[in-house]
C-alpha cells in the first residue's frame, strides 16, 4: 500500500483523483466535478497545503473496463488508472443517474478494483440527474458500495439536478460543506494514520494495485495460512528435511 508518510513535507501537493462517469463532452457530470474541485482546492488552501488533481474519465476506458469485467486481459491504461486511484490521498466520484441509480459503467469500474484499493480513502460522493427526484442516489445507492470497500465517504454528498444549474449558488453551500469535510480528512492524513494503526487487520490483495511497493516486507509470514503453508510448524525456522 502506498500511503503518505505522516511526516511528509507540507509542501508536497496532495493527490486527489476525480473519477467522472459522464457520457457526453462536455457533461454536467464533469461540470459538477469541476465545481467540487474548485471547492476542494479552496478548502485545502486554507490549510496552506497545495493539491494536484488527476481526472479519470471512465468513458475513455469503457471498453477496457468491460473486458476486464469479464475476466479478460486488463489493459495497461486501465491498470494505470487504477494505480492512480490507489495512490491518491482522496477521491471525488461523480456519476450521472441512469434508471434511478449510478451508471453501469461507474459500477463496472468499481467492480474491477481490488477490494483494498479504497481502504480508508476519503471520498466525495456526487451525482447529477435531470430531476430532483433522484436526489438520494449518492446517499442511498453510492454510499453502501463505498462502505463495502471500507472507504471514508464524507457525510455530505453532492447532488445536482438540471434546475440547480439555473439558480444562483444552489450548489455552492453543499459543495463547500463536502469540500471542507474532505479537506479535513485529507490534510490530516487520516488514510495513512488508520492504515498504519490497523496494519494487518484488512484482507489485502497480493501484488494488487494497492500493493505496488515491490517489497515483501509487508507480507505477514506469521499468519495462520502462512504457518500452515510452512508445514503447520509454529516456527518458520524449522526445516522439513532435518
Amino acid at each position: 500500500m502506498t500511503v503518505n508518510d505522516n511526516n511528509e513535507a507540507a509542501d508536497t501537493p496532495l493527490r486527489v483523483v476525480v473519477i467522472s462517469a459522464g457520457v457526453s463532452d462536455p457533461s454536467t457530470t464533469r461540470m459538477l466535478a469541476d465545481r467540487i474541485v474548485t471547492g476542494v482546492r479552496e478548502a485545502i488552501a486554507t490549510d496552506e497545503r497545495s493539491v494536484a488533481f488527476r481526472y479519470i474519465e471512465l468513458r475513455d476506458l469503457a471498453v477496457d473496463i468491460a473486458q476486464a469485467g469479464i475476466g479478460a486481459l486488463r489493459s495497461s491504461r486501465l491498470d494505470e488508472a487504477i494505480g492512480t486511484v490507489a495512490e491518491a490521498d482522496g477521491v471525488i466520484v461523480v456519476s450521472p443517474v441512469f434508471k434511478a441509480s449510478f451508471t453501469g459503467l461507474f459500477k463496472s469500474f468499481l467492480d474491477v478494483l481490488d477490494d483494498d484499493v479504497l481502504l480508508n480513502m476519503p471520498v466525495i460522493l456526487a451525482a447529477t440527474a435531470g430531476t430532483p427526484r433522484h436526489a438520494l442516489v449518492p446517499d442511498q445507492t453510492m454510499r453502501p458500495i463505498f462502505a463495502y470497500l471500507r472507504a471514508l465517504p464524507v457525510p455530505t454528498a453532492v447532488f445536482a439536478a438540471t434546475e440547480d444549474w439555473g439558480k444562483t449558488d444552489a450548489l455552492k453551500p453543499r459543495v463547500d460543506r463536502a469540500a471542507g469535510e474532505f479537506a479535513a480528512l485529507v490534510t490530516a492524513n487520516i488514510r495513512s494514520s488508520v492504515l498504519q494503526r490497523q496494519s494487518g487487520s484488512y484482507q489485502r490483495t497480493f501484488d494488487g494495485a494497492a500493493d505496488r511497493s515491490g517489497s515483501m516486507a509487508e507480507l505477514d509470514f506469521n499468519s495462520d495460512l502462512m504457518r500452515l503453508a510452512a508445514g503447520g510448524a509454529a516456527s518458520l525456522q524449522s526445516h522439513p528435511r532435518e
Binding site: Q67, I70, G71, A72, L73, R74, S75, S76, T205, F206, D207, G214, M216, L219, F221, D224, L225, M226, L228, A229, A230, G231, G232, H239, P240, R241
Partner: protein, 395 residues
Amino acid sequence: MQFGIFTVGDVTQDPTTGVTPSEAERIKAAVTIAKKVEEVGLDVYATGEHHNPPFYTSSPTTFLAYIAAQTERIMLSTSTTLITTNDPVRIAEEYAMLQHLADGRVDLMLGRGNTAPVYPWFGQDIRQSLPLALENYNLLHQLWHNDVVDFEGRFRTPLQGFTSTPRPLDDVPPFVWHGSIRTPEIAEQAAYYGDGFFANGIFWPMRHFQRLIELYRQRYAHYGHGTEDQAVVGVGSQIFVRPNSQDAISEFRPYFDNSPVYRGGPDLETVSEATPLFVGSPQQIIDRILELPEYFGNYQRQMFLIDHAGLPLKTVLEQLDVLGEQIVPVVRKELESRYGSHVPDAPTHASLVKAKYGDDEPRQPRPNPNRGDNVTGSSPYQDSDPGTPAVLPAL
C-alpha cells in the same frame, strides 16, 4: 531445461467445421498427442484434471499409466492435480503406483481448481480451498516421506497408524510442482518444501508473475534449499505456429475468437502481444520464448498448450513437428548457454535418487508378514524405523 506439452483436456467443437469430437475420439487423440511428444524429442507430457463436461480428464493416473506403457523416455506429469477435492491419501497411493509402473518418469503439479460446483460434489467448500490445499499437501508430503503417519487436521478423517502403499519408487517421492496465479501462501509452501513453482502465464500479462516468483525464490533460499536462482520454476505458454506468420494468425483466429476463455476480450493481436500466447512463424515464436526469462528468471521447465479450443488432431501433430524440429532445439541451446552451470535442471527420478543415496543402493521396502488380519502390526516394513511404530486404531 525441459520442454513439454500440457493440456487442459477440453472436448471442444472445432469452430471452422462445426464438428465436436466424441469423448472417445478426444481420448484417443490425446494418446496420439502424448506419444508424439516423445517421438519429436520433447521431454514432458502433462494432463489436466477435471470432473465435469466438456473435459475428459477425470482419471489422470489411468491415462498416464497407459502412456507410460507406450513410451520410453518422456516424463509424465499433471496440469494440475486437484489438491483440494482429491483425498491426499488417494493422491499418495495412485501417483506412487504410477511412479512404479513408469519407472520413475512421473512428477505432478498441484492446483486448487476454480470450478465451484466440483467442491461440493466431493464434499468440500471452495471458500476453504486455500487452507484445504495447504493442509492436504502437508499430509501428502508426510504420507510420501514417512512409512507410518498419524494425522489429524481440519478437513479429513484422522489417520492413525496409516501407511500409504506402495511406498514411492526407491523410497523417493515424485517431484511436486505447485501452480498458482496470485497466492503467496502457495509460493511459500513450495519454497518451504523445496518443491517447484509453476507459473501458467497463459491469459496473464507477462509481468504478472514477477512478484510471486520473486517471493518463491526468496523463500526457497530462506529455507536453505539453494540460492534464489537455483529454485525450480516452470512456465506455461500457448503457441500456434505456421511457416508463414500471417497464415498462423489467420488460421488460429477462429479458434481464438471462439475460445471459451478468450472470446469477448481483446483481439488476438492484443492478447498475443501482452501475454505468452505466441502465434506466428517458428522464428517469431523462438524470439518470444527467449523473452520469457526476463519475466520469469532462469526457469527449468517450459510447457506449451497446443490442443486448446477445438484444434483438430492433425493440426496439433503439425505443431509438435515444428516444435520438435525447429523451435525447441534452438531455444534449448540458447537458454542452456545463458543459464550457466549453477542453475540446476528440474529434478528427475534419477537426480533425486542420486541426491538421496549418492552411490548407495536405494531403499526397497519389503513388508512384514500379514499377521492374519490383513495388517502387519506395529511395523509395516522389515526396515521400518522401530522408533515410530504404527499404533493402529482401536476397533
